[in-house]
Amino acid sequence: MMFSMAKRTMQEATFLILTALASGSQHGYGIITDVRAISSGRVELKAGTLYAALERLRTDKLVEVEREEIVDSRLRRYYRLTPAGRELLAAEVTRLQANVHAAMSRLKPAPGVVM
């Protein structure tokens, strides 16, 4: 499970879904609005994408269903990270941090350029 995902670069949608769930459980629509907020409106998750990602994350045991509710006679499921999901997100953050650090250090302003 870990090796299959950790070895590859995580897709941004996956990263943002895991981030949305990192501070607590959420239902599908909650994840969509949260991802929109986290990405400052840049990423608009569509329902098909979201549920394909959730399905994969559940198969990989990175995300699980926390509880179900009936709201307006519709089933609503709340998802949360598993410990493995939390670990994977943390590993991805470390990886991204290293990349950002490398890029920043090479982008040091050239002499005479005011940034």
Binding site: S4, G28, K46, G48, L50, A53, E55, T59, R74
Partner: protein, 206 residues
């Protein structure tokens, strides 16, 4: 008919593209998400939204997972020693090396036309190195000279070397192909170039 029921009906029609099992579990839930994201007077799914639903429905029907199933396949060539090469080539595995391919959901074992097993990953109960060599096996399979494809009472021996064997046990018998004949297999012994790698790849994840 109100705008919202019309919209819901259209969404439902799109969700019909999904596999039945997925729909049974998620249809109500996804409908809820779609309706929550819809505008007050919206009557039709947005074009991008419809395309997205159909795309992932097809992905699921094809058993693909955003292309990553292909990427995470691991290939383990079978071990074939020099004297066995002619025999193995005779089984049609000359051009394509005999191999075990493991993905997150399947394990595929092939030696030319002589042997093919497409197993569900979930059916693999255990995989271990066969430390005692062929002598550990039941019945005639313990003959140390056996190479190529052999089968005895639910146990298949697909062997190119007689060493570095991996013993794979299944939870339930699976139909596999022995040449042209389908047989039920519960246990598979296969020689691997990377014995410990194959054992690690097949064992249930921690």
């Amino acid at each position: 008919m109100s705008d919202s029921t019309q919209l819901e009906r259209r969404y439902r029609r799109l969700l019909a593209f999904y596999p039945r099992a997925f729909r049974q579990e998620h249809e109500q839930e996804i409908l809820g998400v779609l309706m929550a994201g819809a505008d007050e007077d919206q009557r039709r799914p947005r074009p991008g939204e419809a395309a997205d639903l159909i795309k992932y429905a097809l992905w699921m029907r094809l058993g693909l997972r955003r292309g990553d199933d292909m990427a995470s396949k691991m290939l383990f060539p079978m071990k074939v020693d020099r004297p066995s090469r002619v025999l193995v080539a005779g089984l049609g595995a000359g051009r394509k090396a005999p191999r075990v391919t493991a993905s997150a959901s399947t394990v595929d074992v092939r030696m030319g036309w002589g042997f093919h097993a497409a197993l569900a990953r979930a059916d693999v109960a255990s995989a271990r190195p066969l430390t005692g060599g062929l002598g550990e096996l039941p019945g005639p399979l313990r003959l140390s000279v056996l190479r190529g494809v052999n089968y005895w009472r639910g146990t298949a021996l697909v062997n190119g070397a007689g060493t570095d064997l991996v013993d794979i046990t299944l939870d339930r018998p699976s139909w596999v192909r022995l040449g042209p004949f389908p047989v039920r297999m519960r246990r598979l012994i296969v020689s691997a170039e990377d014995q410990s790698g194959l054992v690690a790849a097949l064992n249930p994840k921690p």
